[in-house]
Amino acid sequence: MGHDRYDVIIVGAGPAGSTAAKICAESNLSVALIEKGEYPGSKNMFGGSVFRAALEEIIPDFLEKAPIERKVIREVLFFMEADSVVEIGFTSYKFAQPPYNTFTVIRSRFDRWLAGMAEEAGAHLMNSTLVEDLIYKKEGPFSGRKVAGVILEDGRKIYSDLVILAEGAMASLARKAGLRKKYSADLFTLYVKELIALPEEVINARFNLEKGEGMNIGMVGYPTAGAIGKGGIWVNKDTISIIVGAYLNQLTKNGLNPYQLLSRLKEHPAIKPLIQGGKTVQYMSKIIPKGGYNNIPELYDDGIIITGDGGMLVSGRHGTDAAMLSGKYAAETAIQAKTSGDFSKKTLSAYEGKINNSFFFNNLKVNRRAAGYYKKYPDADFLISKILNEITYEFFKEGMQTQEEKLQMMLEKLKQIQPLTKSAKDFYNAALNWRFY
């Protein structure tokens, strides 16, 4: 059964924690992987899909093992108004062939599987266990205190050389350790989701997919009723994930209820036929840390490393893979530290070096400016959606005008919505921001 001492204690068996646990255990470090849920993934939610590159780095043969719903071959973007949609889409049949690209998954299955991989490697998984606080040890008269383990809710203490926090967006222990700033509503988006069950063949027919093929629809404009956020559909094997969410400060300011937004989206004429006759089998919700580069906490200190959502390491739709990679970097740093027998802040700074070199960290860094634009013009995406729909409507609407009159009409419409220069700015900044989608 459980011991009271490990090389490494990992708090949270999500994608970051289980990845760290697996890699540490493979290098023969003794690992406790502590999960508050009944089993890993039982409290987790995302859109969503996982991406090949990061998964493959951590589990090279994941394709044979992971509980994958479908292989995504089509990405579609809906710019939505109440009664029209401008669609931009891409289908690649290359993505239907090995090595594939992205995969829809269901977190309760995926996280449980990944934690199982960590267990197989030798990590000790403790489910239904909440960590209450950290244990500190005074190192010497001239040095500071070092994290030396965790205190469980029943008061039991478990000691370790290193604690890796993979506790998720709330980052409660990171706050107790004094490693993160105070949070506010503008640093988070809040999403709600329903899983809607439909027979596999019905899904294939409705979404024009062959068996095993999946797709994702991203939606802007109508779904969030003016707040910055998105709607989305992910096609799973025999369920459809439908989500909507927005920045929490905008939901509160605009008086929006996320469940109402979801119900409203399900009634949209472009969405309703896709889910018709389906049976809702799960409702769920979660915040996503979107504080960006400026709100990343101190990611390490003596005896402690922060990974995943708890480290605000989410860039665009790279959350799960960023979490897994940060777990990998944390594990590599732990293995190095174990070899040198030194778990001081200085040794653990190698973790920061690895994070700084990652694609998601560099995306966060570059994206600082666009994030600022959205703060200043929170309705930018909404206006873009409106413009695209109105112009496209005029373009396709048949009448008796000359080509010249039609173009003039489209230009007038454009000017009615807002000054042309502002529209140009919105599109430019959207392009900047959507690079990181």
Binding site: K43, A185, T252, K286
Partner: protein, 97 residues
């Protein structure tokens, strides 16, 4: 309670929650809700409708047994007036799929 505004359906019927004996959520100061908070946004941004305003008691009512642990409430409250922690291990929300 249960109905979500205009929508008659209660989505919590699709969520398994095992509530602990004690609440993991507290309103820090009831008077702040009464005196300072005009819009009471917790009553609408919470996706599980944990919070409701009682005209009779002149206070926010907290039904922690509805909580899906999304994490929004402590940050969404404009007066930082909600204390929230995770329920004990093994309790609270449990997504089956």
């Amino acid at each position: 309670m249960g109905a979500f505004g205009k929508n008659k359906e209660n989505p919590l019927q699709y969520v398994r929650i095992k509530p602990a004996e004690k609440s993991h959520i507290k309103i820090k100061d009831r008077n702040t809700c009464l005196d300072n908070c005009e819009n009471k946004p917790c009553t609408y941004y919470c996706p599980a409708r944990v919070y409701s305003w009682s005209g009779e008691k002149q206070a926010i009512m907290v039904d922690y047994s509805r909580c899906m642990e999304c994490g929004a409430c402590p940050w969404g409250c404009p007066y930082n007036n909600i204390y929230w922690e995770f329920p004990p291990g093994g309790y609270g929300v449990h997504y089956e799929i």
